[in-house]
Symmetry: C2
Subunit: 340 residues, 2 copies
C-alpha cells in the first residue's frame, strides 16, 4: 500500500473483453507515458468467465459476470479496487450511447468515484489489440458471426455487417458453413452440382445421408454448431472442389466489402483513397492458417481498392487491447507531461 | 343406419390436411366410381384445429389434434366412425416410411379394423387438391417455407428444397423477406445500393432506423413473422425498385429450379422432356395475384425447360385433395367395377 504514492507503481488499469461466449479481464500496471510500450506487456492478473452479453443472459447475469471477472483479476494481481485508475470494458451488445450508460451504471458503484470507466462495444477491444490501444482504423472480426468496425482519430465510428444470419451475415463462419450444408442438399435433390462437401460434411457429422441434415439442423439451431463446419469447407476447397471454392470466394467478397464500406464512410484512406490505415483481422475464419487462407484473400480484396490498408494480425488478446484503451484514454484526460 | 346398405350412400371418406399452422378435416360421401367428379364436390362436414406436426408439438399433442379434428368433422356430418370407408392423412413432418407407420399407429385404433387408412406428407394433399386426387405430377408449395414434391403414376416420389432457412430455402416467403431485410441493412451500412425497401419495410414494422432491425429480428425468430414482409417486397418491385426486382427474380429462379429438379429425377416429362404433366401451385407466395406475379414468372421459367408443364392453381383446399386421395386409393384396391 505504501508504494501507491511512488508515482503510481502499484496503480493499475483493467481491460475487459466481454463476449457472447466468454469474458476475460486483464490487470496491467499503470505504464509510464511513452511512445514505446514494453514488449512483452506486463500482465499482473487475468481471469475468465462466461457470457456478458445482456441480450443473451439478461442484465443481472451480465453484471455479475463482469464484476466477478474484474474481482478475480484484481485478486490475482494482489491489488485493491482503490488502486485502479481506469477500466475499459468492451462488451458485446453495446451498440448505442444508452447501452454504454447501462453498463456504466452497473459498474459505477463497484469502484471508488475517482476511477475512470470507459464502455465500448467488444469490437473496440479487438481493434485495440492490433493497434496497441489506439482507436484508429478498421477491425474485421469473422468467427461464428462477422462484423466490421471502424474508428477515426476524431472519434467517429461506423460498422458494417454483424447483423446475424437472418440479415445476411454471409461472410461469417455461420454463413460459410450454412452455404456448405446448402450445397449438399442441392446436390442431393438435383438443384446443384455434385460436390466433395457431401461426403466430408456427412462424415464429420456422423450422418449417412443428406436427408438427415434437415433433422440435424432443426435439432439445435446454435450458430456456433453450424460454424464449426468451416474447416471442412476449407479442406474441400484446398482439394480443388469448385463448389467449396465458390463458397469461400463469396465469403471473401462479403468480408472485403464490409471493410471497404466502413473505410469509405469514415474516409479512413483519406480524400484520395490512398492513405494508410490499419485493418485488424480477428477470429477463427481469418486465422485459419491454411493453404486456402481466407484472411489473406480478404486482405488482397481490400488492397485492390485501398492500397494503403495495413493488415494487422494481433499478437495480444482483446482484453489487453481494452486495457491499453483504458491507459490511452486516461493519458488523454491528463495534462500532457504526466499522469498524476 | 339402415341406408348404409344402399350402395354406400351413407358411407364416407375423410381427408385430413395436417400442417404446422393448422389442421383441417373434411368428410365427403363415398362417391360412385366415375371419371367425372361432381362440381361442386359434396362436403358433409369440415373441422379445423391447430398444429399436427409432431416435430413442433410432440406426438401426444399431434395425435390429439388429428383425432379431435376427425371426430368433429364426423359429428358435423352426422355419421359414425363405422360409416368411414377410408381416410387419407397428409401430415407435415411425415418424410419416411417410419413416419407413416408412426401416424398410422396413432390412428389405427380410432377406427374399426375395416377402415382403410393412408398416411402421406401434407404435400400429397396439396398436389391432390390440384389433380383432384390423382397422385401424378409435381406440386410447388411456397408459403413461409417452400418445397417441391413430385409423384409418378407407378408410385415413385422425389422432393427438392423444403429444408428450411439454414439449408438455403431461398425461394420461400421467409427467403424473400429475409433478403429484403438484408438489402435494407446493406444499403444502410454502405455495402449495397439504396432501395425503396428501406422506407417501406421500416414503415410496415413501425421502426425509425435500419439499426433497429437487428433488435427486431432477434426479438422473435419466428419464420412466419419474417415471411409476412413478402407483400412489401412485391410492392417495391411493382414500383420499379431494382433491388426488390432482383430479389423476386432470384426467388423465381430458385422455385423454378426446385420444380425442374423433381421433374428431371422422376422423368415426369417423359424421355424427350416434352411430355405433359401437372404442376400444382400452392401457397401465399404463388397466389399473390399482384401485377408482379411470382407464380406466373415461376411457370414461365418451368415452361422454358419443360414445354409440357400444365400449371394448376387448385380450386379446392388440400383437405379435399386428401379426401380424394382416400377415395382414389380405395377404388384402386377394389375390383374394377364397384366399390363394395
Amino acid at each position: 500500500m505504501g508504494s501507491e504514492s511512488e508515482c503510481g507503481k502499484s496503480e493499475v488499469v483493467l481491460g475487459v473483453d466481454g463476449g457472447t461466449t466468454s469474458t476475460v479481464c486483464v490487470c496491467m500496471p499503470l505504464l509510464p507515458f511513452s511512445h514505446h510500450l514494453p514488449d512483452p506487456l506486463p500482465i499482473l492478473g487475468r481471469a475468465a468467465a462466461g457470457c456478458s452479453n445482456y441480450n443473451s443472459v439478461g442484465e443481472d447475469a451480465a453484471k455479475d459476470t463482469l464484476e466477478k471477472v474484474m474481482e478475480e483479476a484484481l485478486s490475482q494481481s494482489g491489488v485493491k479496487r482503490s488502486a485502479v485508475r481506469a477500466v475499459c470494458l468492451g462488451v458485446s451488445g453495446v451498440n448505442h450511447l444508452k447501452d454504454e450508460e447501462r453498463v456504466l451504471n452497473w459498474i459505477r458503484d463497484f469502484f471508488p468515484a475517482h476511477v475512470k470507466i470507459y464502455v465500448h462495444n467488444d469490437a473496440v477491444a479487438a481493434l485495440a489489440s492490433g493497434t496497441m490501444g489506439k482507436l484508429h482504423g478498421c477491425v474485421l472480426i469473422a468467427g461464428t458471426g462477422s462484423i466490421s468496425f471502424g474508428f477515426t482519430e476524431d472519434g467517429r465510428e461506423a460498422r458494417a455487417a454483424g447483423a446475424g444470419p437472418v440479415l445476411g451475415d454471409w461472410g461469417s463462419g455461420y454463413g460459410i458453413a450454412s452455404r456448405g450444408l446448402t450445397a449438399v442438399v442441392r446436390a442431393h435433390d438435383g438443384r446443384g452440382p455434385q460436390t466433395m462437401l457431401t461426403d466430408h460434411i456427412l462424415d464429420s457429422l456422423g450422418l449417412s445421408s443428406p436427408d438427415e441434415l434437415i433433422g440435424w439442423t432443426y435439432a439445435d439451431p446454435s450458430w456456433a454448431r453450424i460454424a464449426a463446419l468451416v474447416p471442412v469447407v476449407v479442406s474441400c476447397a484446398e482439394a480443388g472442389d469448385q463448389v467449396a471454392i465458390e463458397i469461400l470466394n463469396n465469403a471473401v467478397e462479403e468480408l472485403g466489402s464490409s471493410v471497404k464500406a466502413v473505410v469509405q464512410r469514415l474516409s479512413l484512406a483519406g480524400e484520395d483513397g490512398k492513405g494508410s490505415f490499419p485493418v485488424v483481422m480477428v477470429g477463427g475464419v481469418l486465422e485459419a492458417n491454411r493453404s486456402w487462407d481466407i484472411g489473406r484473400e480478404v486482405i488482397n480484396a481490400i488492397l485492390k481498392t485501398y492500397s494503403g490498408a495495413c493488415p494487422i494480425r494481433p499478437k495480444v488478446e482483446p482484453a489487453i487491447g481494452a486495457a491499453l484503451v483504458a491507459w490511452n484514454s486516461l493519458m488523454k484526460e491528463l495534462p500532457a507531461n504526466g499522469h498524476r
